[in-house]
Amino acid sequence: MRNWLAAHRRACTGTLSRLAGAPLASLFNIAVIGTALALPLGFYVVLANLQGLARDFSPQPQLSVFLAQDAAAGDVRALEQRLKSQSGVANFRFVSRTQALETLKSRAGLADVMAGLADNPLPDAFVVTAAAHDAAVLETLRGEFAGWPKVAEVHVDSDWARRLDSLLALGRYAVLMLAAALALALVAITFNTIRLQILTQRDEIEVAKLIGATDGWIRRPFLYFGGILGAAGGAAAWLMIWIALLVFNTQLKPLSALYGIPLRLAHLSAGDSLAALLFAATLGWFGAWLSVRRHLHAYNPS
């Protein structure tokens, strides 16, 4: 076990010294991988910020439940009871038709118009605040309320939320597709890098195999190399985005002072950063694994 650990540590330090041994080539490789990763990652950062912004600025999700003209006081009480026990409702208030009329009358210019009416044309109404911002939740609530007796109409102010939601969903798809394409690029880059390494180390591989090295032992340093290359590329991408955000946020500062609201884009959370790094490392590892699998066959006895 200790030997096994030591062997892994040696493969790891060997990889690092190999990277340091050819600093220019290593830097170039890492920069290429970093750029490939920075694109989807940067897109993701912008998306996450938009999502946060949308959450911060979205008003309370409200539904207006208008009752039928012939709804009696008993009906109103019955609906009130139902609303109290309805899940997904944060709170609600009742606006009677007379109250509504008063409000309208108090508005400048409307008093005369209202005075001309013989009857109060306004219905009783409940203004319901939903517990969630989710467009789908609002939609189900609307369906629910519309089915209740003495309810004439339900209005949801969820249109813009839904639009933003579908826009963000589209953005997420775009990020996923971009990430998939560039993941492929990363795998291809490590595949090729490892192929070249195997070529330059063919003597070493041949001799090691001749004197009893297992395929696993020969594979290990290449896999480490791929994984470390991927992780370093991921770190480079993180750094690039960090710098971009730094510049961008500095530009935003005067604007944010002008409007008196804190406008700034946040970087990936610690968890997301770690996930991105692990993902990049896994891709590098995978590219190396494919390459080694493909190119070590030539060294078996005939």
């Binding site: 030997n3 062997a7 070493e204 001799v207 004197i211 090295a213 297992t214 395929d215 006895p301």
Partner: protein, 219 residues
């Protein structure tokens, strides 16, 4: 007990050249055997078959009870660790030091590195190369490279030594020294199989001689 059994072995290389034909021989544990013959007779091919570097076209090669022809690829590394191999073309790694070359057989088995360093130095000392441990193999003379190859072959204390022309580049003094080294190994129970032209060495060590001619065993 026998270490190596070849029966009715044929080896035809990809080019169509028949390097060995109808070879049958036994090498017992602890034996010292010299394989002699003219250049191109098939001596190296014989050793390569024993070490599973080549597979026989027909017949069977059995080492430590394992049939090499039927051995799975995963089994080959563990079979090879029984051997110390001295290659005719040395197969040294020129991008690492003499010391690291000798460490390689220990590294691949995950041997403790500190303990391994002691063994590597002992092996280098035996072939008279300890003072060159930090040198690059490219800076060594032909004979020194050959001795380095021998040090690498013995460092993991193999049960069987397969040496292809181990004294080809050495002058008589060094050849005698290396010969004594092989005899010492043989005396502690290591099976030694040498392919060589060196009749002086044969006279000194008095091994069993197997002569190959045109791919067949003649005596």
């Amino acid at each position: 007990m026998t270490d190596i059994v070849l029966s009715k072995v044929y080896k035809r290389y990809a080019g169509g050249h028949e390097a060995l034909a109808d070879v049958t021989m036994n090498i017992a544990t602890g034996e010292m055997v010299f394989i002699t013959g003219h250049s191109g007779a098939g001596k190296s091919t014989l050793l390569k078959l024993m070490a599973a570097i080549e597979r026989p076209t027909a017949g069977s090669v059995i080492v430590n009870g394992q049939n090499i022809g039927a051995l799975r690829a995963q089994g080959i590394p563990f079979l090879r660790r029984n051997f110390g191999l001295v290659f005719q073309d040395h197969k040294l790694l020129f991008d690492r030091s003499v010391f690291d070359n000798v460490m390689l057989p220990l590294d691949i088995t995950g041997f403790d590195r500190r303990e391994g360093a002691g063994r590597a130095r002992a092996a280098l000392d035996k072939v008279g190369l300890l003072h060159k441990e930090k040198a690059r193999p490219i800076t060594l003379s032909g004979g020194e490279q050959q001795r380095l190859c021998i040090a690498r072959a013995i460092v993991h204390r193999p049960a069987i030594l397969l040496a292809d022309e181990p004294t080809g580049n050495l002058d008589a003094d060094y050849a005698a020294g290396i010969g004594d080294l092989f005899r010492d190994f043989n005396q502690v129970g290591v099976t030694v199989v040498l392919a060589t032209h060196d009749l002086q060495l044969a006279a000194r060590l008095q091994p069993r001689l197997i002569e190959v001619r045109g791919g067949r065993i003649v005596s």
